[in-house]
């Protein structure tokens, strides 16, 4: 008999307690982020510095070392780098990344010596066909970047290289510059 009334009491009491919690939530601010339109700042800009979004390559500082291609566990990076017989320069004929295959693991950007291949904070990559997800960075064959011993002085390349080196530095301040 005591169990019987205890059951009734405990059911009412616990339901009462639970309902007071849910009621108190009516007075708390919702946690929803109304992506994509009703937000103060773009989500991309609120992401941390290390965020692994869609891959981007700065061909100006790509040395054509193929480290990223070798590191990629699913072979979604294709690079054709040939030595030009006349000028003795490395020529990049092709640098494709298949973003449909990419699993955003970040293994490719780690071995990159200049920070050329890097993750952006962009994540909106939906498209109508798989074909258009293959990012072809090389439009016309370009010479690969050669690090200079005396330090970089070309004003066209210097800011890009600085960005790349900052990307490699894991303690870089996220608010410094335009971000990766």
């Amino acid at each position: 008999m005591r169990v019987y009334f205890h059951n009734i009491w405990i059911s009412l009491a616990t339901a009462f307690e639970g309902m007071s919690i849910t009621f108190s939530h009516l007075f708390r601010k919702p946690y929803t982020v109304q992506y994509p339109d009703r937000i103060a700042v773009r989500v991309q800009d609120t992401l941390p510095y290390r965020y692994r979004g869609i891959l981007e390559v700065d061909l100006e500082i790509c040395t054509g070392c193929l480290a990223c291609e070798r590191a990629c566990p699913i072979d979604c990076i294709r690079i054709d780098a040939k030595k030009d017989m006349q000028t003795k320069e490395m020529l990049l004929n092709r640098f494709d990344i298949d973003m449909a295959k990419c699993m955003y693991c970040g293994l490719c950007s780690e071995p990159c010596p200049t920070g050329s291949i890097h993750h952006t904070r962009e994540f909106e990559g939906s498209d109508y066909s798989l074909e258009s997800l293959v990012k072809r960075f090389v439009k016309v064959p370009v010479p690969a970047y050669k690090p200079k011993k005396s330090g970089e002085d070309d004003p066209a390349i210097l800011p890009i290289l600085e960005r790349g080196m900052r990307y490699i530095d894991e303690f870089a301040d996220p608010d410094d510059g335009s971000g990766a």
Binding site: A15, I21, T22, F23, S24, L26, R28, K29, Y31, T32
Partner: protein
């Protein structure tokens, strides 16, 4: 209503009067169904989603119209335009009929639901009995849906629904009995007239037994309306979508329309039976103004219970089938019998009612509510310590 129509029709006599009266009833019924029940059911769906969302620290639908208010219209339109898929393996005739049976069941119940002193489609002298009977028609529809879908999950849902609604008719009836005893009539208007506008004159506070019967009726009504914690027929984590698994488009919507409409029905019954219905303080002689006040009185009381049902749904888990039966037969039915007997005894001992007891019961409920807000403030304080932003 009847007097209104008689004066409206003036000198018409005999058959003409009867036909006119019938037509008038039909017109009022149509207004109630299309102008009140359907919008109320739709708005309930919107409100339910908003209330849930806020309780779950979300926002809920807020894109269609201000605060997403027109979401229910958009959803209704969308479902109307959707393909009416009828799987090949189903029993097509029964499959098509089932949603209509459900809708007819709940719409028919509104015939005897009062909206004001003069606003009622038909003040049947067995009103409350009629409502209970009409809502039972819903179970037939659900059972048909479950069976004809030719899907085992649907069938389980249908059978669960049948067992549940049939069993809970008894505690629901026992929850109604004390009121019938107290007012000495089955008519809805009669029940309301037997109560006063002051809260302590409501049937709810007549005696501890009436208060218990009131809770009992609410719990059984939730079970009859397939609401959490008794939403077993459509328990989505167990039975996919229960009896509605194979339905799509408007037919599926009709089931949910009935569910949300039922919610208002539960509220209206709670208000009518225990909370003084449309009773308002006699503040004016103006019939129109009084009518509006009466309508608002019963409408707001009903809406309060609609809100409570949503709130319960956002809070409580679902019971199991055997626990459902245990709760019904071991707890609700004995308590219901005690309530009926207790009310009867109280009436014999004090035919006029004990005013002190009424105030004591009223005070008890006020205390419970005060304690409730104390707990809410406690949780809000704790939340503030957790770094929550407290907003209105």
């Amino acid at each position: 209503m009847q007097e209104y129509l008689t004066t409206l029709l003036g000198g018409a006599e005999g058959l003409a009067l009867e036909v006119g009266y019938l037509l008038g009833m039909l017109a009022f019924g149509a207004i109630v169904v299309f102008g009140f029940i359907l919008p109320v059911a739709g708005i309930t769906s919107w409100l339910e989603r908003r209330v849930w969302a806020r309780m779950q620290s979300r926002i809920g639908p807020n894109r269609v119209g201000p605060f997403g208010f027109l979401q229910w219209l958009a959803d209704g339109l969308k479902n109307l335009l959707k393909e009416d898929v009828i799987p090949t393996a189903v029993d097509p005739r029964l499959f098509r009929i089932a949603p209509y049976v459900v809708v007819v069941g709940f719409v028919a119940a509104f015939v005897a639901v009062p909206f004001g002193a003069n606003l009622i489609i038909a003040d049947l002298n067995i009103g409350i009995l009629y409502v209970t009977a009409a809502t039972s028609l819903v179970v037939v529809g659900i059972l048909i849906a479950g069976w004809s879908s030719n899907n085992k999950w649907s069938m389980l849902g249908g059978i669960r629904s049948a067992t549940q609604i049939v069993s809970y008719e008894i505690p629901a009836g026992l929850g109604i009995f004390p009121v019938v005893l107290l007012s000495g009539t089955l008519s809805m208007q009669g029940i309301i007239e037997a109560q006063g506008w002051q809260p302590w004159n409501w049937h709810m506070f007549h005696s501890p037994f009436a208060l218990a019967a009131f809770l009992l009726f609410f719990v059984s009504a939730l079970a009859e309306g397939n609401r959490t914690p008794f939403d077993l027929p459509e328990a989505e984590s167990e039975l996919v979508a229960g009896f509605a698994t194979e339905y799509s488009g408007m037919r599926m919507l009709l089931f949910f329309l009935a569910e949300w409409g039922n919610l208002y029905l539960i509220g209206a019954l709670m208000a009518t039976l225990y909370m003084g219905g449309w009773q308002v303080p006699p503040f004016t002689e103006n019939a129109v103004l009084l009518g509006v006040a009466q309508f608002l009185s019963i409408f707001l009381k009903s809406c309060f219970w609609v809100f409570v049902a949503m709130w319960i749904r956002a809070t409580l888990p679902r019971v199991r089938v055997d626990q459902l039966m245990t709760l019904c037969w071991k707890y609700l039915v004995p308590i219901g019998l005690v309530c009926v007997l207790g009310t009867a005894v109280t009436m014999v001992v004090a035919p006029e009612g004990i005013l002190g007891l009424r105030f004591a019961m009223f005070g008890l409920v006020v205390l419970v509510i005060a304690n409730f807000f104390r707990r809410v403030v406690f949780h809000l304080r704790r939340a503030k310590g957790m770094g929550w932003t407290i907003a209105g």
